[in-house]
């Protein structure tokens, strides 16, 4: 089910406004949601603007290609993303090796403009293109026993210099609780700015979970497994005191070595001030109910 969530961030500054409004109406018309689209357009004054394509594609954490922020842009060109195959296994009705096209066939891609908050206390706003993860999971069929979704990234020493150096254990793995995975905000992104996903951003397909720290949004996915037990997650395995399984953006729970109360939006130059970090990265209304009754200090 596409369009279960409406963008509240604006892209008016990067696309001429008339064209952008126009496109909205076309999309809205197609989905028969004219009234809601009008409300969406009215909301588009939040004052948040997406980062430039240049910022989004030049400042990345993708340790498979090195630990420096510019390393992925420099080194990720070597990765081969076509053909791309994704193994779907575990507690699903239709396990198997899917090509990217097979996995996405019949699903509706849409644009989602999301805040992106890194655990290192910087942030961006990114106009992603992708499909809801829920649609993919529904398509492969979720067995009733499934409680979690595990993901695995490509780890190819031939094309990935960071994998050769073993800067952290590879392959990179991540996981979500099934209800988090099925949430309308959770998408599998295949592009940004209406262009194919650049390699340094996790081509050809990556997870985006906007209310969690960026490292949960695993890149260049080659395997999706539904499990009954909580799956391992790379940073959590490395330093469980610093990186919890949930890793929801939370200004009140500091990383042991730095505060999470504020963040700096990338792209503001040398005199760019910090801004306050929002609970669940600004998606509290949408996702807080997933964690009702949980102690978020303990389950960080």
């Amino acid at each position: 089910m596409a369009y279960r969530w409406k963008n509240t961030l604006t892209r008016a500054d990067v696309t001429p406004e008339a064209m952008w409004l126009n496109r909205r109406q076309i999309i809205a018309g197609a989905a028969g949601l004219g009234a809601i689209a009008a409300a969406g357009a009215a909301q588009a004054d939040e004052g948040l603007e997406p980062n430039s394509y240049e910022d989004i594609t030049s400042y990345n954490n993708f340790y498979e290609f090195g630990t420096g922020k510019s390393d992925p842009a420099e080194n990720a060109g070597a990765m081969v993303t076509d053909p791309w195959s994704i193994r779907v296994d575990g507690l699903v009705d239709n396990p198997g090796d899917y090509s990217l096209a097979q996995l996405l066939d019949g699903l509706t891609a849409e644009e989602r403009i999301y805040r992106f908050r890194c655990v290192e206390a910087w942030s961006m706003v990114v106009p992603w293109n992708g499909v809801e993860l829920a649609d993919i999971l529904t398509k492969v069929g979720i067995k009733p026993e499934a409680k979690y979704v595990a993901f695995e990234s490509l780890a190819d020493p031939e094309t990935m210099i960071g994998v050769r150096r073993q800067v952290i254990p590879f392959p990179y793995v991540e996981g979500l609780r099934l209800d988090e995975a099925m949430h309308p905000l959770t998408i599998m992104a295949t592009g940004l700015y209406d262009r194919p996903m650049p390699n340094q951003n996790g081509a050809p397909i990556r997870l985006v979970v906007p209310w969690k720290y960026g490292f949960k949004s695993i890149k260049s996915i080659i395997r999706i497994t539904l499990t009954e037990e909580q799956p391992p997650a790379t940073w959590n395995m490395l330093q469980s005191r610093e990186y919890g399984f949930y890793s929801n953006v939370n200004p009140e729970v500091s990383h042991p070595r730095w505060s999470q109360a504020t963040e700096r939006r990338i792209g503001g130059g040398l005199f760019n001030a910090r801004q306050d970090t929002l609970m669940f990265n600004g998606y509290e209304q949408e996702v807080a109910s997933l964690y009702e009754g949980m102690d978020l200090r303990r389950n960080f």
């Binding site: 980062n51 240049e54 910022d55 030049s58 400042y59 340790y63 630990t67 922020k69 510019s70 290192e120 910087w122 150096r165 800067v167 952290i168 490395l238 070595r257 730095w258 505060s259 504020t262 700096r264 990338i266 792209g267 130059g269 040398l270 005199f271 760019n272 001030a273 910090r274």
Partner: protein, 203 residues
């Protein structure tokens, strides 16, 4: 090797020590300019902070290498040592200022970080320990203190260099090899100061 060292020593005799200050100031200014004009990437504050810190660390390593280089290779850089040490301090101060003024941006948060974040506490301690060394890096202080006391004070460089490495390792995510490589070099340079490893002094 000896021929090379002799040539180097002869050439270096012609280079005045103040060129180090000029080069240091120019380099710091250039990095700042790059930060202003987009040359340091999408997040120039962090990049500039790191760049100043790293130049400071490199100069600290070079300063620590002066004595072993002379003792083991006969390469004489002594006349540059003060300029190298002072320039190292200036970069560490620039590193601190970018952090406090541009990065953390508020006095209360600066203080909170110093108190609460161990790697900041350690970096701050190293910075403070460098201040008396900087203030006494002049002929007058050397004369007033006397050589023995002055040398004793300036051995603070050793713990400072170890604190700097702990600071660097502690602030990184994962296990990148750069801080560990710097750490290894510093440990080797400090080990050359342990008396029993030294070659017998020539009469």
């Amino acid at each position: 090797m000896m021929a090379f060292v002799d040539t180097a020593n002869r050439q270096l005799r012609r280079v005045p020590a103040w060129t180090i200050y000029i080069a240091g100031a120019a380099w710091a200014g250039w990095l700042f300019w790059l930060g202003l004009t987009g040359g340091l990437g999408a997040e120039p504050i962090n990049a500039l902070e790191r760049a100043y810190g790293e130049v400071g660390l490199k100069l600290l390593v070079v300063t620590l290498a002066v004595t072993p280089l002379r003792r083991f290779l006969g390469l004489n850089l002594i006349k540059f040592r003060r300029a190298l040490g002072l320039t190292a301090f200036f970069f560490v101060m620039a590193h601190f200022l970018v952090w406090a003024v541009l990065d953390v941006h508020s006095l209360s948060r600066v203080w909170a970080d110093i108190v609460k974040r161990p790697y900041v506490t350690i970096g701050m301690a190293a910075f403070l320990m460098l201040i008396p060394l900087t203030l006494t890096s002049n002929d007058q202080s050397l004369r007033r203190m006397g050589g023995a006391a002055w040398r004793k004070l300036h051995k603070l460089t050793y713990p400072v260099s170890l604190l700097v490495i702990v600071h660097y390792i502690w602030l990184t995510k994962g296990f990148p090899y750069e801080p560990l490589a710097y750490g290894a070099v510093i440990v080797v340079l400090l080990a050359t100061r342990i008396r029993r490893f030294l070659p017998a002094k020539a009469a």
